[in-house]
């Protein structure tokens, strides 16, 4: 008998028994008893109606199982599909667990499970576990399934050290990660490890398929390579041992691999292939076309590879998307730097800016503006703000054109229409979102340099943070220059002293007689910022008992806490924390709450359970 793998895809389950029969009919007497009359619903774990246990009650299966069990080295493996694997009889190797007993000499095997592990990046998870574990270990056969992550280790000492790691690692949401350890049979890739001469042959075959000029390895239809077939070596890449052997050879012989072609290998899962990330991280081109990948979740397991080109056509997963553009964007979410998908060039990834918004500094060549103009503007800004902050603002008179315009705005927040913290700017606020009166709209637009400078003089005293400035030069002709400054400043006097504001100032300027510029349009937008320290303290859950801390509050404060809790839906303690951090300014606390909530920075446990 030979190694045979009757893997059933979801689509193929209807044909499962007939396949079984077909493959085994000629070579294995067992299958004569395997009927093809059994109900398919009983085979489908996904159906949910019948459990896996019921399968064993099917008379035909039961009989086959009994027959099978009497043969050594045969196994029924059920993992959402029925797979009946009949192997050639082989002597158990050292370290391999026998059927009934565990061989303790070289170390028993243990299965390590992280429930909910699917949400963590493999590399991060393994690095975290390794760094917390007192005993070094080698993880084997890492895979994701059913929301959990799992791998195997050998040796009781490693296993018990890993048990100690449970609930020690914190994830990004400050949840402790549990780790379950249980005994296990030998993992497949170890148990079915290819023999040295098989490995040697595999290496020779792969060498033939390697193109050194392109650093490309072509493993299309690898199972049916004439060399391998001729020597009776069955390389089914779905199987962990075959994939592990292949990757091992890649790591040892083609360490700088750029392109890997796995077309037409009937791959339905990529757990094994995900080890490629460690074995050959240089791979930039991956071809997975014409396989059996059912869902983009499989492809997601490869996301730590920095791919530039990917082929996925001919996989069932394409049908899970209503159209080409949702398919493309889902793939791009896995691989943000992807340039080509299925042979099509994707538009250049300007959107990198979304994933990691970076602020381009003025000195970077983001726009073709002459150095001279750039330095002119930067010099202007420096002088402007130095005068504005430390000098007499009336001197700014010179900088404005006679007929210049200036206006000021602050945001309009429909949830909380009156942010009291920006009250100094209320009277000049020309935000057209809430200012509808055309008369006022004209009045509040300061016109002529005299009016402008007058209004600038009465604005609060400030201290601008030059290091925070980001300048966009966004339009220029010979006669006009447009630039925007984004930055921060601090209020240095009055009720809001110490508050940090964010601002955006847009200037339109024309050249002046000497080497200077005149401002013809000036628009200033001021927004409040949230001090960073509030954010981090907010994230740490407070574990004091509720009533004890509430008792230390004044009556008024207690009322605020109750009201805040009702309005925000957060538990009392969290509401109290939020209010405390805002110095019991209810409005401000509300703003902070809304901002953090929309950014998803409030942990779920902060909210009251809905009964």
């Amino acid at each position: 008998s030979e190694d045979k793998d009757v893997g059933n895809s979801r689509q193929g389950q209807k044909k499962s028994w007939s396949c079984f029969r077909r493959h085994f009919g000629k070579r294995n007497h067992l299958c004569e008893h395997g009927g093809n009359k059994c109900q398919h619903s009983q085979l489908q774990k996904d159906n949910g109606k019948q459990g896996i246990k019921d399968v064993q009650q099917i008379p035909q299966v039961k009989h086959s199982l009994n027959t099978i069990r009497h043969n050594r080295g045969v196994e029924l493996r059920i993992e959402g599909r029925i797979q009946i694997i009949v192997q050639k009889g082989r002597k158990p190797r050292e370290g391999e667990v026998g059927q009934n007993t565990q061989d303790g000499t070289l170390g028993s095997w243990f299965k390590i499970t992280v429930p909910d592990g699917m949400k963590y990046d493999k590399i991060w998870l393994m690095n975290s576990i390794q760094s917390h574990c007192s005993v070094p270990f080698t993880p084997v056969d890492f895979n994701y399934a059913n929301n959990w992550a799992r791998f195997f280790v050998q040796g009781a000492s490693a296993a018990s050290a890993l048990k100690d790691v449970s609930y020690k690692i914190c994830d990004e949401e400050n949840q402790k990660i549990p780790i379950f350890v249980s005994t296990s049979v030998v993992p497949y890739s170890v148990r079915d490890k290819l023999e040295p001469k098989e490995m040697e042959q595999l290496k020779l075959t792969m060498n033939k398929r390697y193109d050194p000029s392109q650093k490309a390895l072509d493993l299309q239809m690898f199972r049916f390579d004439p060399d391998l077939v001729g020597l009776d070596i069955d390389i089914i890449l779905n199987r962990r041992n075959c994939m592990a052997a292949t990757l091992q050879i890649i790591k040892e012989n083609f360490p700088e691999l750029l392109s890997l072609n796995l077309r037409s290998n009937k791959l339905y899962q990529l757990n094994g292939l995900s080890d490629l990330i460690q074995m050959a991280p240089t791979v930039k081109i991956l071809n997975l076309s014409k396989n059996q990948l059912q869902s983009i979740c499989e492809v997601n397991k490869m996301k730590e590879l920095k791919l530039e080109e990917l082929w996925l056509e001919g996989n069932p997963l394409r049908n899970t998307f209503p159209d080409q553009s949702t398919y493309t964007s889902a793939v791009r979410k896995c691989f943000p730097k992807l340039l080509r998908l299925d042979g099509q060039v994707l538009p250049s990834p300007i959107i990198n800016g979304i994933d990691r918004p970076y602020l381009i500094k003025p000195c970077k060549e983001s726009y073709k503006i002459s150095e001279m103009l750039k330095s002119l503007v930067l010099h202007f800004l420096k002088k402007y703000y130095l005068t504005y902050d430390y000098g007499d603002r009336r001197r700014l008179f010179r900088v404005y054109h006679d007929e210049a315009c200036f206006s000021l705005t602050i945001p309009f927040n429909p949830v909380d229409p009156d942010p009291s913290s920006l009250f100094e700017y209320f009277k000049d606020n020309r935000n057209m979102k809430n200012l509808k009166d055309p008369y006022l709209r004209v009045q509040l637009l300061k016109h002529t340099k005299r009016d402008i400078v007058c209004s600038l003089c009465v604005l609060p005293k400030t201290q601008h943070d030059f290091s925070s400035f980001v300048v966009d030069f966004w339009f220029q002709t010979e006669k006009m220059l447009f630039f925007s400054v984004n930055g921060e400043f601090k209020e240095v006097e009055g009720k809001s002293q110490g508050s940090v504001r964010a601002f955006t100032r847009t200037f339109i300027a024309i050249p002046a007689s000497s080497s200077g510029i005149f401002i013809v349009n000036d628009e200033l937008f001021v927004r409040d910022t949230i001090p960073k320290k509030t954010q981090s303290t907010f994230a740490i859950p407070v574990r004091m008992p509720v009533y004890r801390s509430l008792l230390t509050l004044s009556r008024e404060q207690r009322d605020m806490v109750l009201a805040f809790s009702t309005q925000s839906g957060m538990k009392l303690l969290w509401s109290q924390k939020c209010l405390q951090d805002s110095q019991w300014n209810y409005t401000r606390a509300g703003q902070i709450f809304i901002m953090l909530k929309t950014n998803g920075q409030i942990p779920a446990e902060a909210f009251k359970q809905i009964p």
Binding site: P347, P357, H401, S407, P438, V442, S468, I510
Partner: protein, 198 residues
């Protein structure tokens, strides 16, 4: 330098105190005055004949008229722009001039083809604008091409990404015909501004 008439502004002050008729003709909402809202165009009633010309007499046109016109155009424009951006992204490039430039978080995109490409790739968006301001741009800067500066701010959530604060500035230029004025974007500068939450 052009002769500058300050007096009209002083004079206006007196008039405004009495809330002259001029204001009462104009209702206070943005969807007014036959500013038609074709789907992808920002169109307003024609500019006054004097404003449309570039003769020195254009200076005599009321500053207030410029401001009103700018406000009207800006409000119409912003409504259409973000609606198109969120719901009809494909149509967005039509709001731009042929040679328009977009600076998106520092990245430069010039020309309609590049813009179309860019907006195609940009994930779907949900914009919430909570600030809008506009100013008529001084003629000296624009060589008598009527231009409006529009400034907006708010929050935006792109699909697959967290929410960001954004600031955006536009230069709108008017293309006048006898029947109406079509406003198009000559330049667009967009930036995330996440001082607190990055």
């Amino acid at each position: 330098m052009r002769p500058f008439r300050r007096d009209w502004f002083q004079g206006d002050r007196g008039m405004h105190q009495g809330r002259s008729d001029r204001f009462h003709e104009e209702p206070q909402t943005s969807h007014t005055c036959g500013g038609s809202r074709t789907r992808e165009n920002v169109v307003t009633p024609p500019l006054t004949a004097q404003a449309a010309s570039s003769s020195p007499m254009a200076m005599a046109v009321d500053f207030k008229t410029y401001v009103d016109q700018a406000c009207r155009a800006a409000e119409e424009f912003v409504n259409i722009y973000y609606d198109t951006m969120d719901k009809r992204r494909r149509a967005l490039p039509r709001l731009y001039l042929d040679k328009a430039t977009l600076i998106w978080n520092g990245n430069v995109v010039t020309g309609l083809d590049a813009l179309a490409n860019f907006f195609d790739v940009l994930p779907s968006s949900e914009f919430q604008v909570n600030m809008l301001d506009c100013q008529p741009v001084h003629e000296q800067a624009t060589q008598a091409q009527t231009t409006v500066l529009v400034v907006t701010s708010g929050t935006v959530k792109f699909d697959g990404n967290k929410q960001h604060f954004f600031n955006q500035n536009f230069l709108l230029t008017a293309q006048s015909t006898p029947n109406n004025t079509v406003w198009k974007i000559a330049s667009d500068c967009f930036r995330f501004q996440d001082w607190a939450s990055s």
